[in-house]
């Protein structure tokens, strides 16, 4: 059965492996370039030009890493569409299932072997790509400090594996139910894309309840914030983020040490000072609550997301095995 499965997928597998080899070469090259640039331009840079150097560094590698990331995010959908969906529908459309299901192999074993083989190849390919990209982009990610950013999170470390296996199994089961290749492909694309978008925009932030820590507004914090907006009743700090954490609020309300809200009346004297206003503000002993997912949750989040999608894949596969025994010819 393994021989037959291999015989049926070997062309695609070899094509994918060839593509992977080329990509791997590119990623390794890119990784060394990034490391070289990091060592020469960022390490030990003079404080006055450091920010500029970092910006230049990030700008330079934003494009290629973004493209590689997009590829890795698109990979699950491709796997589901071109490997998952046709795996059974092609047999059904060419009626070869009537040939192979009447050899001395139960449908369960037939499906198990096919699914197992293709899943292994999928895991190997996605794993290799993710590993390479994670390594290649590590210095860039370190400088950027936004590991939770939607595209970065979904294109690094173990999360891509979950999506790929989920998409593959979904494609197979969709093919089993829909029985025709094109509709099964379309359904797979829609569901995989929807799952990825839904998770990154809505669900991921709620995997664990966010933490609120109190941050004192000192000069460094004032400098790091995007800006402030102050009204008669309250004052807000905007766009502040502790590097490595995932901020859950675009703005947070400022309070005085005694708990009274910071207001326009209080802000006025500092605002009169013009450029020196920031220094003035930092001395007011203000604080605010910073609601976020701490940096230490990066790996728990990776594992949770991986487990959720592997779990879904297992459930879908279970359904597929139940279904194929009842599948009419």
């Amino acid at each position: 059965m393994i021989w037959l499965t291999w015989r049926q997928i070997r062309v695609q597998t070899l094509t994918v492996l060839a593509t992977l080899t080329v990509l791997a070469g590119c990623l390794v090259l890119l990784g060394y370039q990034i490391r070289h640039a990091y060592n020469t331009d960022i390490v030990g840079c003079q404080p006055d030009i450091c920010e500029r150097a970092k910006e230049k560094f990030l700008d330079a590698y934003d494009g290629p890493l973004g493209m590689a990331g997009a590829l890795l995010i698109g990979a699950p959908a491709l796997v589901g569409i071109f490997w998952g969906a046709p795996l059974i529908t092609r047999e059904l459309e060419e009626k070869t299932h009537r040939l192979v299901w009447n050899q001395s192999v139960t449908r369960t074993r037939w499906l198990a072997t096919k699914l197992g083989c293709v899943a292994l190849v999928t895991l190997a390919v996605t794993g290799a790509l993710s590993l390479l990209l994670t390594w290649s982009a590590s210095r860039y990610d370190q400088v950027l400090g936004e590991r939770f950013e939607a595209l970065n999170f979904a294109a690094r470390n173990v999360v891509p594996l979950g999506y790929a296996v989920f998409a593959l199994v979904f494609g197979i089961v969709a093919g089993l139910l829909v029985r025709r290749t094109l509709p099964a492909m379309a359904l797979t694309l829609a569901v995989v894309a929807a799952a990825q978008i839904l998770v990154s925009t809505e669900l991921r932030a709620h995997l664990m309840p966010p933490v609120t820590t109190t941050v004192a507004l000192d000069a460094a914090v004032v400098e790091a914030a995007d800006g402030f907006s102050v009204s008669e009743t309250d004052g807000l700090i905007e766009g502040y983020e502790i590097p490595g954490t995932w901020s859950m609020a675009a703005q947070s309300q400022l309070f005085n040490a005694d708990g009274r809200p910071y207001t326009f009346a209080q802000a006025k004297p500092c605002m009169m000072l013009g450029p020196a206003g920031k220094e003035c503000m930092a001395k007011l002993n203000l604080h605010f609550g910073y609601r976020h997912q701490p940096a230490g949750r990066y790996w728990p989040f990776q594992w949770i997301e991986l487990s959720v999608f592997l779990g879904l894949a297992v459930l879908l596969a279970g359904f597929g095995f139940w279904r194929i025994r009842r599948q009419p010819s």
Partner: protein
């Protein structure tokens, strides 16, 4: 007597459409069984049920004493060639034999190689480029070399030209004798089956109309010819399958277990074709007039 196929009240429906209704059959071992009936009669459904590709919606079916496709062992005992003999277009003839060898524990490589050589098939050729006849032969080779106890062939010659048809059937007979295997094959043309079968099942309108060993069937069916009046009053035990009237004379095809003597009525044996046509006509008339194909209805 061992049975290769035994069904009880077997039925299959797709949505509201009945593909097979209340089918009760007992097919003995060691026969070449012809399953004949018009297109859409339910032949493929019955064969699909027998090899386990389809699950029944009513009743039960046992093949070689087990539920079809219940296990790998059961699958190994039944060889099946589906309609149009599907093969993998991208795999070569040799690949198909390798597939058979790897997926079947009782695979007979010598038989497979021998047949491919005898048929003159090029082992390196992609199956997608074979002619219809060659494809059917390849599929039959796969099923035969599996060394099953029962071979089920769904319309194996439908797509073949008359010459290939004859060759295929002659071939089939050859290795049936050699392998000691029971065979069930279907066709909508009796002519295809007549030469090779010794047992017949007539399916029409999703129901079994007639089943039995051909010799037995011919022994209990007769043609009666006489005037209408002479044939009006038939003795008990004589069942009219089909009545045709031309002018004052009538010709009846009847079923009666023991020979009957009716004054002034000529009794003659009938051939298989007339017999099958009589049952199919009866079924068709019954379904057109809105009745089920019960003998009582058809007698009017």
């Amino acid at each position: 007597m061992t049975l290769v196929v035994q069904t009880t009240g077997l039925g299959k429906r797709y949505g509201r459409k009945k593909a097979l209704t209340d089918c009760t059959l007992r097919v003995p071992a060691g026969r070449v069984v012809g399953l004949v009936g018009p297109n859409g009669a339910g032949k493929s459904t019955l064969l699909g049920l027998a090899c386990g590709l389809i699950r029944p919606s009513a009743g039960s079916i046992e093949v070689l004493g087990n539920r079809p496709a219940a296990s790998a062992a059961q699958l190994a005992r039944v060889g099946f060639v589906a309609q149009d003999a599907p093969v993998y277009p991208g795999l070569s003839v040799a690949d198909h034999l390798r597939l058979g060898a790897r997926l079947n524990p009782r695979w007979d490589q010598r038989l497979a190689d021998g047949r491919i050589r005898q048929l003159g098939l090029d082992p390196g050729q992609k199956a997608g480029r074979l002619s219809g006849g060659q494809r059917a032969q390849l599929a039959l080779t796969l099923a035969a070399a599996k060394r099953a106890e029962l071979l089920i062939l769904d319309e194996p010659v439908a797509a073949l030209d008359p010459l290939a048809r004859r060759a295929f059937l002659r071939d089939l007979l050859d290795f049936v004798a050699e392998l000691d295997v029971s065979v069930v094959l279907s066709s909508h043309l009796l002519g295809d089956l007549e030469r090779v079968c010794d047992h017949l099942v007539v399916l029409s309108g999703s129901r079994v109309q007639l089943a039995g060993d051909i010799d037995d069937l011919l022994a209990v069916h007769h043609r009666l010819t006489g005037t209408r009046e002479d044939l009006d009053d038939l003795p008990a035990g004589v069942e009219i399958i089909l009545a045709e009237h031309t002018g004052g004379r009538s010709s009846l095809i009847v079923h009666c277990a023991a020979p009957v003597r009716i004054p002034a009525v000529e009794l003659a044996p009938i051939d298989l074709e007339d017999l099958v046509l009589a049952y199919m006509t009866r079924a068709a008339t019954a379904s057109v007039s809105g009745f089920s194909a019960e003998p009582a209805e058809a007698r009017r």
